[in-house]
């Protein structure tokens, strides 16, 4: 899978093409930052790095190898993370883990159908909380989402926890294991 198929449209300023690139590229860029997770807020760095990819994409020059923009994005993210480590006066505990594979994530229609079906089986309150997070797409903090749903913040967060645990359990019964983190 070569995400550079979207490159000509991205270079022309097509935001829809960049969204398609983002869908496949985000997991790899995130994974490239795991070794920084103890000392910097990776989510904040990741969003800034992905935004910078879009901003500097018009000046990007492909090297002829697949997934050039993705490798470029990983470099931007890692350089930003290193700057953050310096700003926070932190040290990485295990610099040897800095190298990671860069591999785009293709859509999985079967997984998608299973997750959608399991989401539809959630009890009302956990589903409300999960849907609020999805609809908000990071625009509002959990306090605002909780207020909108008439919940206390802690109740909202407990409903989020319950939603992901139930989803993980439902998927496990179908023989699908996404991660241990969802179930705990």
């Amino acid at each position: 899978m070569d995400l550079d198929v979207h490159l000509p449209a991205i270079l022309a300023g097509d935001t829809t093409a960049f969204a398609r690139w983002l869908a496949g590229a985000e997991p790899s860029v995130r994974d490239s930052l795991r070794s920084f997770a103890a000392v910097i807020d990776v989510e904040a760095v990741l969003q800034e790095a992905l935004l910078r990819v879009w901003q500097v994409a018009p000046r990007f020059e492909p090297d002829g190898r697949p997934n050039g923009l993705l490798r470029f994005g990983v470099r931007i993210a890692r350089n930003l993370a290193i700057s953050e480590v310096r700003r926070m006066r932190a040290t990485l505990s295990d610099p040897s883990t800095l190298e990671v594979a860069v591999e785009p994530t293709p859509p999985d229609p079967l997984l998608r159908a299973a997750i959608t079906d399991c989401r539809d089986k959630l009890p009302p309150k956990p589903r409300e909380a999960l849907d609020a997070r999805l609809t908000s797409a990071g625009a509002y903090d959990d306090d605002a989402l909780a207020t909108e749903l008439g919940m206390r913040l802690n109740t909202f967060l407990q409903n989020i926890t319950r939603a992901r645990q139930l989803l993980a359990d439902c998927l496990r019964k179908r023989g699908i294991h996404i991660s241990d983190e969802l179930a705990t």
Partner: protein
């Protein structure tokens, strides 16, 4: 320990895609500063798993992180 200090609930907040907006500086989630290193790594791993779920539930296969980036581009 009060509910507000419960590491599990702090991790749940940090694992969301919401980050305070700023045009001039990188803004961390306020709850991130209240977590120790092991819990920050747990928040990272939880966020990674949640984004996979979110993308599967999105018509364009976009996670809340991707949606937040697109919103900052003015297209979300």
């Amino acid at each position: 320990m009060t509910d507000d200090e419960d590491p599990a609930l702090l991790i749940e907040q940090v694992a969301s895609a919401h980050r305070p907006h700023s045009q001039t500086e990188l803004r961390y989630h306020p709850a991130w500063h209240d977590l120790g290193a092991p819990d920050r790594i747990r928040a990272f791993d939880l966020a990674r798993s949640l984004r996979r779920l979110e993308a599967a539930l999105d018509p364009e296969n976009l996670s809340t992180t991707a949606r937040a980036v697109l919103a900052r581009m003015g297209t979300g």
